[in-house]
């Protein structure tokens, strides 16, 4: 099953999205929050993200949802810190973090491939709310 990692500058945002997406996808879906810094301040931590990716991976790949700015740079740095074998099956979704995470988690929970999960997340970009 494809794992999901949520990277936000805020620990609470990442945890909140994890809870929200987890409610839709069910308890078996791996969703790991990697928000904020270990001292509780706002920011992104490449080491925390690399640990989250390793924890989310069960061999079928990991999709990472990011908020903005340094979240992307830190995530790409994290890819350099993990095993190359795992890094080869981890991708960042070009998607809104909340809607993308929910779509991705639901897809992943029904056993979709990494490419399908990524596509589901990225479709959320075009989602009309009104």
């Amino acid at each position: 099953m494809v794992g999901i990692v949520i990277v936000s500058h805020s620990e609470q945002i990442a945890e909140g999205i994890k809870t929200l997406a987890g409610q839709m996808a069910g308890a078996n879906q791996k969703i790991i929050a990697a928000g904020g810094m270990t001292d509780g301040s706002i920011g992104t931590d490449a080491i925390r993200i690399s640990e989250a990716v390793a924890a989310a991976d069960s061999g079928d790949g990991v999709l990472v949802l990011v908020d903005l700015g340094s979240a992307i740079i830190s995530t790409e740095t994290a890819f350099e810190l993990i095993e190359p074998e795992v890094a080869a099956r981890v991708v960042i979704a070009d998607a809104p973090i909340v809607e993308g995470a929910i779509s991705a988690a639901v897809q992943a929970s029904i056993g979709a491939t990494l490419a399908e999960v990524k596509a589901a997340a990225e479709m959320a970009k075009a989602m009309q709310k009104l």
């Binding site: 931590d45 490449a46 740079i73 350099e80």
Partner: protein, 206 residues
């Protein structure tokens, strides 16, 4: 006084600490006013992880970079973190450096920052100080200058790079939202790099 890697790292930490307000003020003009705060938080964490026992330059720069990754928070965390780690990878097992080795390390650091930030020269970033500094080091190596002489040339080039960042608009990072209003302000990242280079140079010269 004998020069040690620990001594140099302490000197870097003191510089970042004493320049925290200045760096934050520069960032306040064109960014999100946290560069000094973030860098200071990073180096305060760094200093707790080193002792005089740390003499392997490669291993130490890797440790320094990893610490910045997890403590700085803003974009300068992964950028400087990657830079120090890539520089360290070129100095594994070394306890001293030639000017030529220092140039190779700076080149690797620049490459790391470019891999991360996808920036090129002239976008009002730290690269606008780093790349001229590397060119100066390369020339100093060709001229057969000493380590300190070469580093002094690099500092002069980096300072010219800072001046250059005042004349251009930002196209990367938060400052790019300001467009032409970023002109006239020097780049905080170029400034923090130059301050660190000057500190290392002064430490070796003293």
């Amino acid at each position: 006084m004998s020069k040690t890697l620990f001594g140099m790292i302490q000197a870097l930490q003191e510089t970042i600490s004493s320049q925290e307000a200045f760096l934050t003020e520069l960032d306040g003009a064109i960014g999100d006013a946290d560069h000094g705060i973030n860098m200071n938080r990073g180096f305060e964490a760094v200093i707790t992880k080193f002792t005089e026992e740390d003499t392997d330059i490669g291993a130490s720069l890797k440790k320094l970079g990893m610490t910045l990754l997890s403590t700085v928070g803003g974009a300068s965390g992964p950028l400087y973190g990657t830079a120090f780690m890539r520089a360290g990878a070129e100095a594994q097992g070394k306890e001293t450096l030639t000017l030529e080795e220092a140039e190779v390390m700076l080149a690797a650091a620049i490459k790391g920052i470019q891999d991360r930030g996808k920036a090129v020269k002239g976008e009002k970033t730290m690269l606008d100080a780093m790349m001229p500094a590397q060119d100066a080091l390369k020339q100093a190596v060709a001229e057969g200058l000493s380590v300190v002489e070469g580093l002094e040339k690099a500092c002069a080039a980096a300072n010219e790079g800072i001046e250059f960042t005042k004349t251009i608009r930002a196209t990367k990072g938060r400052a790019s939202y300001l467009g032409d209003r970023s002109i006239g302000h020097q780049d905080p990242g170029a400034t923090s790099f130059t301050l660190m280079l000057e500190t290392a140079t002064k430490y070796l010269k003293a």
